[in-house]
Amino acid sequence: MPYVPHSPEETREMLEVIGVNSVDDLFAEIPIELRPKSFNLPKGMSEMAVLEKMEKIAARNTTNLTSFLGAGFYDHFIPTAVDALISRSEFYTAYTPYQPEASQGTLQAIFEYQTAMARLLDLPYANASVYDGGTALYEATLMAVRKTKRRKIIVSEALNPIYRVMLDSYTTNLNLELITVPHNHGRTNIKSLTAIIDKDTAAVIVQNPNFFGSVNDFTDLFTTVHEHKAIAIMSTYPVLQSVLKTPGQMGADIAVAEGQSIGQPLSFGGPYLGVMTCSKALVRQMPGRMAGRTEDGEGKTGYVLTLQAREQHIRRQKATSNICSNQALCALRTLIHLCLLGEEGMRRTAGLSIERAHYAADRLTSIDGVELFTKGPFGNEFAVTLPVNAFEVIDKLTERGIIPGFPLGRYYEGLENGLLIACTEKTTEEQIGIFAEILRGTL
């Protein structure tokens, strides 16, 4: 049997030491009525056969089309050294660093990741990551509820709808009031958001750039949030955060992000990572792991998991969250990716992605009947309205080798003709040109 080393002779020796006659004797305590009624799993296969089978399955997925899909999940180039470094088995076969002296590699990397996220989102404290951007937002919401002891949550409709449906699920049993404020032609409706903040408001949740790609400045909104002693939560896109005005500059109390776009392959939805950062006043409410700097007996610098008194293995039902892991290897990928590109590389990545999106917007809106839906400044993503149903257009263009974007009608009633289009530094002007020509021919 693969991966089981004991020979029959060794098994016999071990059974003798234990003082039983057979391996079956070790399971004698399992009552007969609890034994399996069936166990019809297939027979095992050789490594070669499994690899062949999996290659065939993988070939039934289409990944060779030119894609303009984004919707919060972006296909940026990942430097080769990211995969080479995370393949170090000392990183990927280690557990959560409970024995800090034997885990300084993981711990220092988490500390550096926290530093990178705190700088990128421009808030002083960051945790070691949570599962994904959606769960980060949910945990941020609970932080605000605990801190303010209030139950009303105001959410912009221009927040990624995937996160909005996750928030709905998670808060079902918690007696929270979620109020969704409609977007205004793809713009985050700052006026309406501001108008409904009151003394019962725990948090206001907005996104920048919002789901339609629109870039915002929430400084005034967050001032109003603070006047009501509520918590300002902002979801952001980490690649563009290397150039955009920061959550910290706008006055956010908690900033979260889906970390996928820096270093993670798309991989059909995961594993990704949820980035979480916050102000000093909220750090003890923040869930998840955190690595802190300290010293050993000789004064040598080292790192440990810290503030564990908030966590489930000590506090049990009184913990800030049930979460007991981070996405350590994903966080490491993000950190290495950021280090390889550095300040200039990240700026260029953001710049190229924005430039290509504006080129695409120009080319596509030169087609009769195609109009820019996203008003005002946008980043690497924008929405257009088509003269016909977007689902149909996507279907037709996919046949021609292009996935033109995401249909807004999937989540927004009345926007059935809306198409959300994303570019990254991998998108070429040539691909955009072909897209535009095929679209023109289709309409």
């Binding site: 004991h6 098994t11 609890l34 076969t93 590699g105 798309l266 503030l307 200039e344």
Partner: protein, 481 residues
């Protein structure tokens, strides 16, 4: 070692893409932009060397025996990494499945979701599984949300969840975060008795969360009666799958009467732990809970085509943005295919064999509080050593100096000076023997030279670290003084 930020040299070129033709200010007003983000400027080699050096300060399963109880640190076969990296999987955008007719572009991925759910259902004897939860604790939360939805649908007013005192800390935390009051039940001689359960089991109990074998490595021998008692109150029985490696092919939790189960694929099914994640925590349910599973479900048509079904009016909704940690459970699927029915059963048998062998060989030198046949792990105590001032923590640190990772210590909390060992099936007898010899030597040194043990570790990049200082200073980034 300096942090990577302190190594930055302004102007040094990294892995840069080409320069954009235009300025960002041409598209976005300058007052909506930031100055420097503070990322370092380093060459590719600077970065490669920094992280390679960091990796050398870590223990991992490939380099060290890692008998960390409750964590199932088994060997992670290399071929599964290659499976997850296949471009047909790694490059697949998740929203492609939501486009009209685009199911045809992700048939392979949908097949993996569907088949993994089928195999896990057969492994555990459950009616169905969801792959969406992204880690064990996330699976627990999902499981408790399913329990809440079930009772809400039936109009049951249930406010409490019972957890044994030996339960993993996540169980009460998951129950609480889902809105329940947590009630503890005491174990007797290491297990739950019907009498103890009867004292706390009333009509307001929504569920009882158990793991079997429990965290002491003991089989819950009263399980058949416990199942009956719980179901008579229309409460549900939850199985914490952290200890699944003890029972594959020997017991199926569904057949045994459990209603909800989460698995930790990063434990039982050999996907790497990654230094703390990413994991995967799929949840299995019995027939009556299937209508509540998260959206969306992968279904199979008669012609063999797969599609996503969003029509689930009773569903708890979305717990993950898409289909969970696909790139993780892909590896677990490949591992299950490789081992098959027999291989998985052998894995369990050898895990239990190795644990009992270790328990037996340690019994003369360490206190074994429940010294009887255990399952895949067992608990020892350093109370004998504590007489000389050597505590479980000291034994753990001395093991690090011997090149072994430590066991889980001070858990479960009901055992004094607790050390929980889980060898897993993949470690050879020589490895176990070397470890056991070292454990016995540490016990002897605890008598003859306790200070030597209390000063460990001395061979690693740092000696014992001041955790109080870390919590007080709260220096969690390079920018906090």
């Amino acid at each position: 070692m300096k942090t990577v930020f302190k190594k930055s040299v302004p102007g040094r070129e990294g892995v840069w893409p080409e320069k954009p033709k235009s300025k960002i200010e041409d598209f976005i007003p300058a007052d909506m932009l930031r100055e420097s983000s503070g990322m370092p400027s380093l060459s590719e080699l600077d970065v490669v060397r920094h992280f390679t050096k960091l990796s050398m300060k870590n223990f991992g399963v490939d380099s060290n025996f890692y008998p960390l109880g409750s964590c199932t640190m088994k060997y992670n076969p290399k071929f599964t990494e290659q499976v997850a990296a296949l471009p047909g999987f790694a490059r697949l955008h998740p929203v492609i499945s939501q486009l009209k007719g685009a199911g045809r572009h992700c048939q392979g991925a949908l097949e993996v979701v569907f088949e993994t759910e089928r195999m896990l259902s057969e492994l555990c004897g459950m009616a169905d599984f969801t792959m969406h939860p992204m880690a064990g604790a996330h699976g627990e939360l999902t499981g408790v949300m399913l329990i809440a939805a079930y009772h809400r649908d039936k109009g049951n007013k249930k406010t409490k969840i019972i957890c044994p005192d030996s339960a993993h800390g996540t169980n009460p935390a998951s129950a609480a975060i889902a809105g329940y009051d947590v009630v503890s039940v005491e174990s007797h001689d290491g297990i739950i008795t019907p009498e103890a359960l009867a004292e706390v089991l009333d009509d307001e109990v929504a569920a009882v969360m158990m793991t079997c074998p429990n965290t002491l490595g003991l089989f819950e021998t009263h399980l058949p009666e416990i199942v009956k008692m719980i179901h008579e109150k229309d409460a549900l029985l939850y199985y914490d799958g952290a200890n699944m490696n003890a029972i594959m092919g020997k017991m199926r939790v569904g057949d045994a009467g459990f209603d909800v189960v989460h698995l930790n694929l990063h434990k039982t099914l050999a996907t790497p732990h990654g230094g703390g994640g990413p994991g995967s925590g799929p949840v299995g349910v019995c027939e009556k809970l299937t209508p509540f599973l998260p959206i969306s479900r992968v279904k199979k048509l008669e012609d063999g085509q797969y599609y996503l079904d969003y029509d689930a009016p009773k569903s708890i909704g979305y717990v993950a943005p898409f289909y969970g940690n696909f790139g993780v459970y892909l590896k677990a699927y490949a591992y299950m295919l490789r081992l098959g029915r027999e291989g998985l059963t052998r894995a369990t048998e050898n895990a239990v064999l190795s644990a009992n062998y270790m328990r037996k060989r340690l019994e003369d030198d360490y206190e074994i509080p429940y010294n009887r046949i255990c399952m895949h792990e067992f608990v020892a105590s350093a109370v004998k050593q504590a007489k000389n001032g050597v505590r479980a923590l000291d034994v753990a640190k001395a093991l690090l100096d011997k090149g072994h990772h430590a066991p889980t210590i001070y858990f479960p909390q009901i055992v004094k000076e607790c050390m929980m060992f889980e060898p897993t099936e993949t470690e050879s007898k020589e490895t176990l023997d070397q470890f056991l010899d070292d454990m016995i030597e540490i016990a002897r040194l605890s008598d003859s030279d306790p200070d030597f043990i209390k000063n460990a570790p001395t061979t690693l990049s740092v000696s014992r670290l001041d955790e109080t200082k870390a919590a007080r200073d709260m220096v969690i980034t390079d920018d906090i003084e």
